[in-house]
Symmetry: C2
Subunit: 199 residues, 2 copies
Amino acid sequence: MTTRTDAPTRREQILKEAARLFAERGFHGVGVDEIGAAVGISGPGLYRHFPGKDAMLAELLVGISGQLLTGAKRRLAEAEGVTSSEVLLDSLIEGHIDFALDDRPLITLHDRELDRLRDTDRKLVRQLQRQYVELWVEVVREVYPELAEPSARSAVHSVFGLLNSTPHLGRPGSLPGRGATAELLHRMARGALAAASAG
Amino acid sequence: MTTRTDAPTRREQILKEAARLFAERGFHGVGVDEIGAAVGISGPGLYRHFPGKDAMLAELLVGISGQLLTGAKRRLAEAEGVTSSEVLLDSLIEGHIDFALDDRPLITLHDRELDRLRDTDRKLVRQLQRQYVELWVEVVREVYPELAEPSARSAVHSVFGLLNSTPHLGRPGSLPGRGATAELLHRMARGALAAASAG
DNA sequence: CCTTCAGGTTAACGACCGCTAACCTCCCTG
DNA sequence: CAGGGAGGTTAGCGGTCGTTAACCTGAAGG
């Protein structure tokens, strides 16, 4: 994990605020003037950094999917041969929870605004998502070999639903603390998968 | 359960198609002309049945929340004293799964377009949702008394996330069949709650 | 010192969208 | 058989939104 110390670029500011606004009011519910105002410039000024509003959403969604997949692949590679499938599954769950807790607006966008993308971008995001799911399915089936593949895939999607529920958990502060929440989600995910395999 | 045999009214047709379109492309992404076309009339014709586009969304969301809460209250009343909390919890889960499997577009809208409502409608929906959650929390805490209330509430929200994942499970047909899917979701929900309580 | 360019600004255009107005046409009923 | 309401139609208004055009400015570089 490389920690950044330099200031965020204007592009990054824009993406961050756009993600927040899109998550709050939906892609079509946010105007470019609003996004500009959120970073201290006015609407058309955004076009110095992005070719259009669509491109911001596309970059956000492709970034999310890619980041999730990359992280999962890294965990898979690190575990290769040195740890059990059980530990690898825990690592995948942990990675997804970190993302769901730290980037709630992005998690919200991820399964909400996909259909607003142009065909080419949407296909790319779908492909990244599919690879991420398949990676999970393989690991889950190693831990629970008696789970048939279609059931495993459904179970994985459902676990994503469970983990991605963080935006509904109330603002950070009403929660029992980040660590406790992460632990709770982790236990529930494992419990759900175990129960899925006990068919 | 009273089964309807009479034809749906025009109002009901409109609501059904509007729900589907809103779920597919978002509230702001659908025009009134499109909704009208989906039921064979043209845009402004809708205003004979609804005062505006907002009213359709409001009626849908209030209807969903009310239906979920009413069903849960009925199950609670039927179980009063005659069955264990365990059986009641299973009944709640079953009711929610039926809804998630039979009315996918509505489930999608339910946690996606709430913020597009007028203040008064949004408050009403939030109140209904809160009552539904609290009802679940009470039953869950009867089954798992060692679960503290904040954790129980988080767990319930997460289970909703799990059960509401049905729209991501692929079109009906790629699934192992409705019964098997319902059973899988049920097992996973119970497993997740059991694991939550084992802290 | 002049040029260039990145990164802004405001004005405005064209398209779209929710909604209203005005009108039409059955069908039911007294 | 009048007539009135239910449920449509098309035309069009007013506002909003994404985008472009034209212009400005401050800092870097030869």
